[in-house]
């Protein structure tokens, strides 16, 4: 013990041997504090935590520097689930004695484990929330929340007590008793716990008494007697049932059986059957969908194939039809054959060549055939043209313009350099009133045979027609 005045160690004297200060009262105070500490320690030893808290607080009121008392108080708080109170005591203790202090270890134990610290904080928050629920009359939620709190911190006395209070309020006496018993295991002498427990036990005792009377009355309704080694228990009012009552009982039993079948078994069976049908229906529906999809796919394929078939048929027709290339080829071959047979027989060659459609020749696109056709035209074209020109001109001369037109057209077709045929063709058109055709032909003459007499004539005709128009 140190002197409060100079800090020297005190002796057994009532004054400080160093500074002479009177320490008699001071010594008594310190000794009282120690006595309370011892009392608190004893109570904590027998798990009277509430009593220990009370004694240790008294001890600290006498001497705030009683570090052992403060550390023990923190420990007791921690055991009661009051982690923040415990931390407060240990922090103060650490400040009062920074070195060689067990509080340091306690603080390290908690602070080094962040998870534990979070759990403590969560527990407190949930407890406060539960309390708020209680004030809002949401007692069911409060119970749930308190159960969570206790799963995180099973030693939290206040949470146990609040939960027990809620159970008492809901008249769930057994549950309340269980909670209170848990409380008493942690803190054996908590006044609140004991008060609640007294209430709960009195109610349970009354209930038990009620049940006892009931049981006794039932016991009185029977006759017990010993027959050899066996105890016979026979109801007093029991009567042997007669034949009619047996039948009646059997009938009632059958009716009950049928009722059970109707109300319990039958609906289950019906539901089962209904489910099976639904399942079957679902399968059939799925198959149906699948088939519908297949049909749609096949129909689409049919449409595609039909289209392909049509295209191919069209192509085939173009090859083998009357206007087809095969036909054209045949006429060309015939023309060539006629030419080889007799090159002078222009009429026969012309007849064959006329059947050839130049458009189809272009569509055929075969170089060899084109070349052959062109060679034929170059070789016999002018002769054929001349032949047509003669016929056409004869008709023209006799003013048979309609008749002259096809021959002159052929003449121009087979020999495009035949300017006379072209000019007369224009005249024929002009004379038959085909003004547009005539203008086209005259313009062709003017452009193709520029500077010639034919061109001049054609130009004159054009001028005349413009003057007329």
């Amino acid at each position: 013990m140190k002197c409060y005045n100079c800090g020297c160690t005190l002796s057994e004297k009532d004054f400080c041997t160093a500074c002479g200060a009177d320490v008699s009262v001071y010594k008594k105070i310190i000794s009282t504090s120690n006595r309370f500490y011892n009392d608190g320690l004893e109570k904590a030893g027998v798990r009277d935590l509430t009593g220990a808290v009370s004694s240790l607080r008294q001890s600290l009121k006498f001497n705030k520097n009683n570090i052992e008392a403060r550390n023990l108080l923190g420990l007791v708080y921690f055991e009661m689930g009051e982690a923040v109170a415990a931390l407060s005591e240990w922090v103060i203790s650490k400040n009062l004695r920074p070195n060689k202090n067990i509080a340091d270890d306690y603080l390290n134990m908690i602070q080094s484990n962040q998870g534990r610290l979070d759990t403590i904080n969560q527990t407190i928050k949930k407890y406060n929330q539960a309390l708020a629920y209680c004030h809002q009359d949401s007692l069911d939620l409060a119970v749930i929340q308190l159960k969570k709190v206790l799963s995180l911190n099973p030693n939290f006395i206040r949470a146990h007590q609040l939960l027990a209070l809620l159970y008492i309020n809901q008249e769930e006496w057994e549950k309340a008793q269980r909670e209170l018993q848990k409380c008493l295991k942690i803190d054996t002498n908590n006044t609140t716990t004991l008060r609640y427990m007294k209430e709960v036990e009195s109610v349970l005792a009354m209930r038990e008494a009620g049940r006892g009377k009931e049981k006794k009355r039932k016991d009185e309704d029977v006759i017990k007697y010993q027959s050899g080694n066996e105890t016979i228990i026979q109801p007093i009012n029991a009567r042997e049932s007669g034949g009619a009552s047996t039948l009646l009982n059997m009938g009632i039993g059958i009716v009950i059986g049928i009722a059970v079948a109707c109300f319990l078994i039958l609906p289950a069976r019906l539901k089962e059957s209904d489910n099976a049908v639904r399942e079957e229906l679902r399968k059939v529906s799925e198959q149906n969908d699948l088939k519908t999809a297949n049909i749609a796919e096949l129909e689409q394929k049919i449409a595609e194939l039909t289209q392909n078939n049509t295209d191919i048929q069209t192509q085939l027709d173009s090859y083998v039809g009357t206007d087809g290339a095969v036909e054209t080829m045949k006429y060309l071959m015939d023309a060539v054959a006629a030419y080889l047979d007799n090159p002078e027989d222009i009429e026969k060659i012309a007849e064959k060549l006329e059947k050839i459609d130049p458009v189809m020749m272009a569509a055929d696109g075969t170089d060899v055939v084109d070349t052959l056709y062109e060679k034929m035209i170059q070789t016999v074209g002018p002769s054929i043209a001349e032949n047509y020109y003669d016929t056409g001109y004869e008709s023209y001369r006799r003013e048979l313009y309609e008749e002259a037109i096809p021959d002159l057209q052929k003449a121009v077709e087979f020999d495009q350099k035949n300017g006379d045929a072209l000019l007369y063709l224009g005249n024929c058109y002009r004379n038959t009133g085909q003004k547009d055709e005539a203008i086209k032909i005259y313009e062709q003459v003017v452009s193709q045979f520029e500077g010639t007499e034919k061109a001049r004539k054609a130009q004159n005709f054009l001028n005349e027609m413009q003057d007329e128009g």
Partner: protein, 49 residues
């Protein structure tokens, strides 16, 4: 018979960890020894005067 409402009033919210610092600062740590020492010192001062 326990009155639920009255009992409920006895339960108070717990301090959270964040609030511990403030609680520590606000704690009145004056003990009996402080009071007695103060009284003795006052007495001595008066005697000196």
């Amino acid at each position: 018979m326990i009155d639920f409402e009255e009992e409920l009033k006895k339960f108070h919210p717990s301090l959270e960890v964040d609030e511990a610092e403030e609680a520590i600062y606000n704690q009145d740590l004056t003990d009996m020894a402080d009071i007695v020492v103060g009284m003795v010192k006052d007495l001595n001062n008066k005697e000196e005067e």
